[in-house]
Symmetry: C2
Subunit: 366 residues, 2 copies
Amino acid sequence: MSRVPGSDRGGSRLRRVRDRLQDERLDGLLVSHLPNIRYLTGFTGSSALLLVEPGVATLFTDFRYEIQAREEIGPSVALAIISDGLFDELALRLSEEPPGRRIGFEPAAITVRDRQELGTRCGTVVWDAAGAPVEEMRSVKDPWELDRIEAAVGLAEHVLSDIVSEIHVGRTEIEIAAELEYRLRRAGSESLPFEPIVAFGPRSALPHARPGDRRLRAGDLLLLDFGARVDGYCSDLTRAMVARPAESWQRELHAAVDEACSRAIAAISAGVSASTVDASARDYLAELGLADRFGHSTGHGLGLEVHESPRVHRLEERPLAAGNVVTIEPGVYLPGRGGIRIEQDVVIEADGCRVLGESSTGLLEI
Amino acid sequence: MSRVPGSDRGGSRLRRVRDRLQDERLDGLLVSHLPNIRYLTGFTGSSALLLVEPGVATLFTDFRYEIQAREEIGPSVALAIISDGLFDELALRLSEEPPGRRIGFEPAAITVRDRQELGTRCGTVVWDAAGAPVEEMRSVKDPWELDRIEAAVGLAEHVLSDIVSEIHVGRTEIEIAAELEYRLRRAGSESLPFEPIVAFGPRSALPHARPGDRRLRAGDLLLLDFGARVDGYCSDLTRAMVARPAESWQRELHAAVDEACSRAIAAISAGVSASTVDASARDYLAELGLADRFGHSTGHGLGLEVHESPRVHRLEERPLAAGNVVTIEPGVYLPGRGGIRIEQDVVIEADGCRVLGESSTGLLEI
């Protein structure tokens, strides 16, 4: 469905990378981070390198992906099928070119071993740590990308409303996780951006619990954190529930987190620093004496990766920009009792933000 | 279920790492590859570093995993909860120690950026590329690990027999993939080691096809490649099927791949090089004129990762060792028509090997 438009977008994105090369006087950029390769070429396989040069962009992948790559990449990308190690073969090819060329690489997406391979096999190239130029481009979404993320949110919300009938006392976390995954896939999620978190009772106080054999009991808090993927783009939602009867401490805890979430969202606008948004949630919870029970950051960017730039972190001073998509997900965790996290996906706009999706963040009693 | 034995094993594994440190005159090993951290400590979270020193092993992770880490790691590991970047904080801590300590790192599991972080924040340590000592340990499985892999194979085979009733003309690849995933999870797979590959008709000629909207038609080949995970350990199986009526070229292609698979398995024994095993399959397919339609390697190691050491590659001269577990998965792919791959999981023994599981590799006609 996305192939033709994907290729077109790939072409204009490659042009922007080339503009950047020119600005930085680089003869090429070696892209090794797979989500960046997907962004620039449409290729979805699990093993590839992309070399962007002024006149040509070349995708290196192996036999397993030959047919798929031809289907996925547009006319603006050349395909090179290699038979052994990607970095090996790339370095060999580059060693045939005139010496002294400056090629950028992605320091956060290449291992020390592969960097050494490039250096020893291909000493004629001057390798230059290029920062994260493609991640920077990716952090601002265009309308087509926003549509995909919104579709992924819609899909997750549809499954959320659907799963409730499956949740009752006696069922295990892993059963509910399996039902969630199954429904997400059946509803059209391309794959799952991450393993759903399903945690009952005291286990909901583990922010990243792996679903286990714990059975739901009356009075348990439930934490569900999951997402869908549409054309590569992720959603990421968290909702809290309680198996009746709810106790007042659960309702109060939920109200506190819900208010923290609302305050963070109300603080968002293009130009506001991420740390300010984080503080809006954190300071409110601190007023309630809950600061030390909220130990993670308030959110993270969302797109082709489920964690990407920008992060919504207490130390992140950079301003948010229109077109950024971030999660807002404050949480409070009481060891031995349970935890509540509420997570919304929002797109930053010139004077505010828009929450993607329309499902309630209320404490669902089931 | 695996916590207590896991911790015990962790202790003896840490001792072996320490022996190695002594041999190499290192004051410590920084383990950054998460499967290695799980192997040594039992920790299953998605963000951590492990510093193994002669007197102590310290797991660094963040707030999200605090409770989980305390549950998972044994008494032989100390826990340090950090609030910001893992490499940042680790480097800060190490910078407080006496200068000149030599600490090994895993060059294939640390990015250039993180390596720079260690260097600039913590210049008093002499950082030493340590190869892949933990991967080497992991490549030889003990009986407890073999039991887990065998259980993961059994689980996948159970689901394989179960899924057949779901497969009929008109269903899409993605529907069958969703059914597979659901059944794997319901049957107890801890998570999925990889996204199942389900490919119909000509799409089975894409060795790593992502399931799509293609509907099964009479006469289609089907390729199913999937696995399960038990206590972290993976299985990985591929089977071919055909939607009746089968044509003779399909049966012949299947017989060729099945024979190639049998020949590779027959060639396996401790002390035999991986390249010899690869050649047993490859040479047979070459005799049939199919060499250029088998473009990937014959197999790979299997354990806590679905691709690990040793690889069964035509250029891999190192001998296989008793206790290695590898996949044997020759395949032949005819563009526009379809492909067949058969994949078995085997454990290498002193004088031969043992195929894990008992399901037939025959061409199932459905």
